[in-house]
Structures are given as C-alpha cells and as structure tokens.
Symmetry: C2
Subunit: 305 residues, 2 copies
Amino acid sequence: MSPTYDKVALIGLGLIASSMAWAMKRAGNVGEIRGYARSEETRQTAREIGLCDVVCESAAEAAEGADLVVLCVPVGAMGLVAEEIAPVLKPGATVSDVGSVKKAVIEAVGPFVPKGVHFVPAHPLAGTEQSGPRSGFAELFDNRWSLLVPVEGSDEAAVERLEAFWRELGALTERMDADHHDLVLAVTSHTPHLIAYTMVGVADDLRRVTDSEVVKYSAAGFRDFTRIAASDPVMWRDVFLTNKEATLEILGRFTEELFALQRAIRLGDGAHLQDYFTRTRAIRRGIVEAGQDTDAPDFGRGPKR
Amino acid sequence: MSPTYDKVALIGLGLIASSMAWAMKRAGNVGEIRGYARSEETRQTAREIGLCDVVCESAAEAAEGADLVVLCVPVGAMGLVAEEIAPVLKPGATVSDVGSVKKAVIEAVGPFVPKGVHFVPAHPLAGTEQSGPRSGFAELFDNRWSLLVPVEGSDEAAVERLEAFWRELGALTERMDADHHDLVLAVTSHTPHLIAYTMVGVADDLRRVTDSEVVKYSAAGFRDFTRIAASDPVMWRDVFLTNKEATLEILGRFTEELFALQRAIRLGDGAHLQDYFTRTRAIRRGIVEAGQDTDAPDFGRGPKR
C-alpha cells in the first residue's frame, strides 16, 4: 500500500510522539519519520533507540518538506513552535497536534499556519503516567479515541486523511468542536488530574501520617491517585492554564457536590451516601462494556479465580 | 504442619471473606472453614462454588466452637453480629474482623466479647472494585499489608497467632493503634474514595456532556476514578459514618489545597502549579519501589516495548 503520508515530522519526542513513531512503524503507513526535541539529551536518546528515521537539530529542519507535521509539545509551547516552522511548511501539508486542550491551541497555532497548508488539530485520548522518548509503545492508541477538531474552513480531504492515519495507528476517531472538546476533557481528564494531584499533595503535607506510611498503605485506593499525579508536570501546568474556564467550572461543581457529601457525613445521613455511591457504580459498568477498561479486578493486578 | 487455627468462621461472605477462604485453602493453614452470610442467595452461591467446608444458617451456628471468628460484614453491622455470636464463643477463641475503620469497630464489638475470648481487630489493606462471594481470589492479600490493632489487654500470644495466620495468607503484617489507623486510612483510602465518588457523580450530573461521552472518553484519567467509585456502596457508607472525624479533617485539608490550586489556575500562576505537580511525582516513585504497585505503564494495560 502507498503511505498515507510520505514524510511525517514529530515536533517533541515525549510519550505521545514516541508512541506514534512506534505505531507508524507497526502500521507501515508513512514513508519517513523525522523528529525533533528541544533537549539534546532527548534527541540523543531518540537516536540511540532508533525512534525516528532522522532526528533533526531544529523544528524547522524536521518540518521542512513534511506532508504531516504533528506538534507534540506542551500546549503552552505550541504557538512558538508554529511560528518557527511556518516559513518552511510545504504547500498542501497538514499541521496537526496532540494537545489536551483545543481552543487555546487553535488560537495559538492558527494565525501562523500559511495559506495552502491544512490545519487539523487533534487529540489522542491515550497516555500513561510515564514521559519521555523511552516511554512510548506502539499499542498506546489501540482502541482509544483520537478526537479531531477541524477548524473553520478545514479541508475535508485533509481531515479524512488524518482520520485514516489515526485509525492506522490503532485509534478510533471522532470529530468534535473545540469548545465541546475542552469541556468534555475538563470532566474526563483535567479536573480528575487536578484532584489527584491535590490529594497526593495533602498526603505528603500531613505531618502526623508519615510519607512512608502513605507509601506502604497506598494499595487501599490512594495508589490510583498517585499514578495520575505522576503525570508530566509541565504538560499539566499548561493544560490548566489554557483550559482555565472549563476546568474552573467543573471544579466549582465538584466542590459543591463534595460539600453536600461532607454535610451528609457530618449529619450521619447514611441514605444520602448509599444512594450516591450506588448511582456511580453504573458508570463503571458502562466504561467496561464500552471496551475502555478491563473488568479484571484491580486492573488485572490480582488474578481472577 | 498443624493448622494455625483448627476451625475458622467467616461471618459475611463478600470479597474479603471469599478471598480469605481461597487463601486459607492455598495455605492449608486451617482445619475447617465455616461460613455464614445474611442473604440466602449468597449462602447458596458459597455452597455452589465450594467456598467453605460448611455454610451455616446463622452467625451463631458458624461461630460456635470456632478457634477464630472473623467478622467480614460492613462496619455498621459488626456490633449486631458480635452480640449474636457472643453466647456461643469458645473460651480461648479469637474474634477478629476486617473492617476499614477500627475505633468504631472496637467500640461496637468490644463490649460483647466475653471474658476468656481474645479480641484482635485487624484490617487487610486489599480489595478490588468487585464484591460478593464470587469476587474472591487466593492472591488478593499477597504482598499487601494487614494491620493488626490490638486493644487494651490483648493477649500477646493471640495477636502473634493472628499475625502468623495473615502471613500464611500472603500478607505482610504491622501493628497500629486504632486512632492512628483511622487517620492513616482516612488519607490513603477513605478520602480518596469519597473524592472519586464525587467526581463520578459530577460527570453523571453534567447535562452538556452526555454519559456516553463520559464513558467513551474515560481513558483520559476518569476511568481510574470510576473503578474506585464502583466499590460496595453499603461498605463505604459505613466507613464514612464511622470514621467521620478523621475523614472530615482530611477533607478539610483537601479543599484548602484544592482552593489554593484553583486560585493559581484563575490567576495563571504556572510556577505554583508546576512546583506542586513535580512534588507529587516523588510519592509515586516511592510506592512502586515499595512493591505496592507495578511500574508497568497504565497498570499493565499497555504493553511495554
């Protein structure tokens, strides 16, 4: 089969980009993979592990002549990178990204995209708590959603080509507008991350419970929070700074509900608590049925009888 | 080897009790396992799957003549069960439990324990989001902590025997006093559960994001919350009602910190966010190093390259 894109440039070589590189190799759907990372150490690692066909010394060098350029840097850095590569973009090329926030990326990158170049923002909903060029693996996107967020005037053929590309990497695709994307992600990802970070910080601060106790006894629920709270700090800083409105809205609702449950605990209102906890069970069932998680107990940590 | 306990009675046949039953069979460390559950359906299931040597029709029937009686019912039901079995307890027997809260259990059960019977409360820190007699598996306690909380005047030999029993089931053991236990668990388990329940409830309530969207896009962080929030509603209702003080204290600290982060988002204070997120990473490393979780990305959901 002929490649979906002849030359693909990955700008930023962290967890998502390195997984894309391995997934492209597995799919055999691109001609050449070019990569660039700001840190010399990351570029060196990428060369060592054979992550890309060519590791370049600048974003512009990687992007030049590419048919698809994917910005895989923290959301706050996207605008700068777009400005840098704009002059070398090939007419007819597609610029995309993998940022967790879409409105801010569109505002930051959009103005730099030259006429004749397609801009198709995207967001693969996949990740782990690990980061860096060694953390990627080809299966990361398998059966996960990649959301495409076409902008005003996006070329339909360019969008469809990018959808095909993501499906070849194992993902499912869906289109969404930027505002809705940012709200959905505030619910399913951004606010949960902030809450997990907070809870881990509280545990770390509490003088009467030692860190070693927190670590030892984490299996009781806390360790799932620590995994989330081990995610890349710069990436997440940028997510909250750039999806401020939606995150603050969901946080407001969260504290409202938390206060209602706190009040039920204080008043000893067992019926309220039990009703609430019963309702939340159904959502879990939905997620397992939708194939978005395993029903093996404890994520398969404990074998089934 | 001679059995650690000749006859063991499990009162309540949910996830923990059924895992104990399989773990005892694996260890071969008890003579006979007797079980009782309040629901006829659960007793029937237990018989079908061969969970116990004898499934009894009342708690007293199961406890009579047992060398170890383990209360595996929700914390709020412990006192009633203790009252029921008190008259039939064998002199020299040990009564223990697996409740997630210790002060309230000691207050509820202690007064019913006859002179000459040892009362050694315990709490195995292990579980999954599943419940009921079919959810147990022998490996649940392997390399997990079981906390023993001896009460005033506990017999040292009885405590040591129960420690040996738990180690034979695969667990590590540690002793702790009840107040400290309840505080540690409020941090590592109870508050994280309440927060997860709340976040899942918020997602379910939000009209502009559909449940199906929440389910579809859950892989971005939310699904770890849904697993926690799928835990047994009655058990968790009782935990919050009986560990009220410590939970409310930790919740207070949590909302304080959350408001500080919320303010940093509102003010665009990226340095504050990045510092906070960097600090929480270290705790995760400690947990993986302590063998309390796997460092396989995404709990082993995604294979490592």
